[in-house]
């Protein structure tokens, strides 16, 4: 039996072997991250990279982001709008390193953000296709636009009773309420808050529960606003959840979203009506009511104009009638030089009743002439006055 060697001799041998095989070599690997421990103050992150086959773990190796690579995690979270957390699949560049005390590790140098984005987009597409396939009555894709029962619902003429789903004491809650309260038209709103966590693993379930509460009182609301503070780096994965999206698509009260991300659209945004930010949702509501007020002002103006026109027309008709009556009065006729011929106090209209020798009175404007008919002859042609 040979004498034992020192452990350090063996670990040195391992180190030398690994170094000679892997020195300077960078590998690109895909794996699931688990046991993530981030230390922001020292800008380090310890984790394990794992691989699974049919739900069973087949590989696990420790990995670390050192300070010089920590910004990769920040970039990942910023671009994908989701936290770097357990269970996330990533593709990254690593170097193999062995330390006699700390053992075998992979140093992560870079995360393939484009690959992660692609994976996320693929999942998103699959959810969208499933929504259309499994909810044909409520969700249709027409010319690239998702038309849902909810986003096709007609809005009430005035929006005043609002159900607000948001996180307590959040920027989104404050911005939304402030914009409504400070509206320059002094419209009044009744806002009922349904407060819940809207970020994190269970957020989609919690939002769904709030929607179910609202659905039980659907007659009490004109609109549902789901808002989240702008600028948040938190993930919007809850808003891509199939169950939540399907529920929103067929929800019986119009839903508006302002979940605060400019770059991407969540699937809930597509199922409802998207306004990007809480402030924009509130501004849209105020604008909608302003449109109604404008329509009302227009009707009032048209009504006043129509009434004025009708009265003017009636006045004109009356004036015209008065003029005709005035022109037809015997006094006016005499004033204009005509005369009235009477016989025994009766006006003579038909000249055939006049005979020679008859006594007639010719009534002029100021005088009456009494005369006796001495001769009567027919006019050669009808009097043309």
């Amino acid at each position: 039996m040979t004498n034992p060697i020192r452990l350090s001799t063996l670990t040195q041998l391992i180190q030398d072997t690994i170094q000679s095989r892997f020195e300077g070599e960078v590998f690109r690997v895909s794996a699931r991250i688990m046991n993530v421990k981030k230390y922001e103050s020292s800008r380090r992150c310890y984790l394990t990279l794992e691989e699974y086959e049919q739900g069973t773990k087949t590989t696990e190796i420790r990995a670390v982001f050192w300070a010089n690579a920590y910004s990769e995690i920040e970039k990942f979270e910023k671009v994908l709008r989701q936290p770097f957390k357990d269970g996330t699949e990533i593709t990254c560049k690593v170097k193999v390193r062995y330390h006699k005390v700390y053992g075998l590790n992979l140093d992560v140098l870079q995360i393939d953000v484009a690959q992660a984005l692609g994976t996320l987009e693929l999942e998103r597409q699959q959810t969208l296709e499933r929504l259309v396939r499994e909810n044909p009555e409520h969700i249709q894709l027409i010319s690239g636009v998702y038309r849902t029962y909810n986003n096709r619902m007609e809005l009430p003429l005035v929006i005043s009773r609002i159900a607000l789903i948001t996180a307590p004491n959040s920027d989104g809650q404050r911005d939304f309420l402030q914009e409504l309260k400070q509206n320059k038209h002094q419209y009044q709103f009744s806002v009922t808050e349904f407060l819940t966590t809207i970020q994190g693993d269970n957020a989609h379930q919690l939002i769904l529960e709030q929607l179910q509460l609202i659905e039980q009182r659907k007659e009490d609301f004109d609109l549902v606003a789901i808002v989240r503070g702008g600028g948040s780096l938190g993930d919007f994965k809850p808003f891509d959840d199939y169950e939540l999206c399907a529920f929103v698509a067929r929800f019986p009260v119009p839903v508006f979203t302002g979940i605060g991300h400019d770059r991407n659209q969540s699937i809930v945004d597509l199922m409802a009506r998207e306004q990007k930010t809480p402030t924009k949702v509130a501004a849209m509501i105020v604008e909608h009511n302003f449109d109604f007020e404008n329509a009302l002002i227009d009707l009032k103006t048209r009504m006043n104009d129509a009434v004025t026109d009708q009265l003017e027309r009636a006045k004109e008709r009356l004036e015209q009638a008065k003029r005709i009556i005035r022109l037809s009065s015997p006094r006016d006729i005499l004033r204009r030089g005509f005369a009235i011929i009477t016989h025994k106090d009766k006006i003579v209209i038909d000249p055939s009743v006049i005979h020679e020798g008859m006594e007639l009175q010719t009534q002029l404007k100021n005088e009456t002439i009494f005369s006796t008919v001495t001769k009567k002859a027919k006019n050669e042609k009808e009097a043309d006055l």
């Binding site: 003429l157 009044q188 009744s190 509460l213 009490d220 109604f292 009504m303 129509a306 009708q310």
Partner: protein
């Protein structure tokens, strides 16, 4: 008893009346009554914008345990 109109119904009636007025279909002797009625409808619609209706406030009082109402 006369049924109280909703603002929605009032707005629709107002639209119809204005069309009738513009077409000259309202007789002169009915004009004053119609205008009075129309102004009541306008007031009802304007109220909807700037004053929360009493029933909404009552509904807010009986809010769900989770919900709270802000005005």
């Amino acid at each position: 008893m006369k049924k109280k109109l909703t603002y929605n119904e009032a707005f629709t009636k107002l639209e119809e009346l204005v069309e009738q007025l513009e077409d000259g279909r309202i007789p002169l002797d009915k004009l004053a009554d119609n205008v009075k009625q129309a102004n009541e409808w306008v007031a009802l619609c304007e109220t909807k914008l700037r004053q929360i209706e009493k029933e909404i406030e009552e509904a807010a009082d009986t809010n769900s345990k989770k919900g709270s109402t802000k005005k």
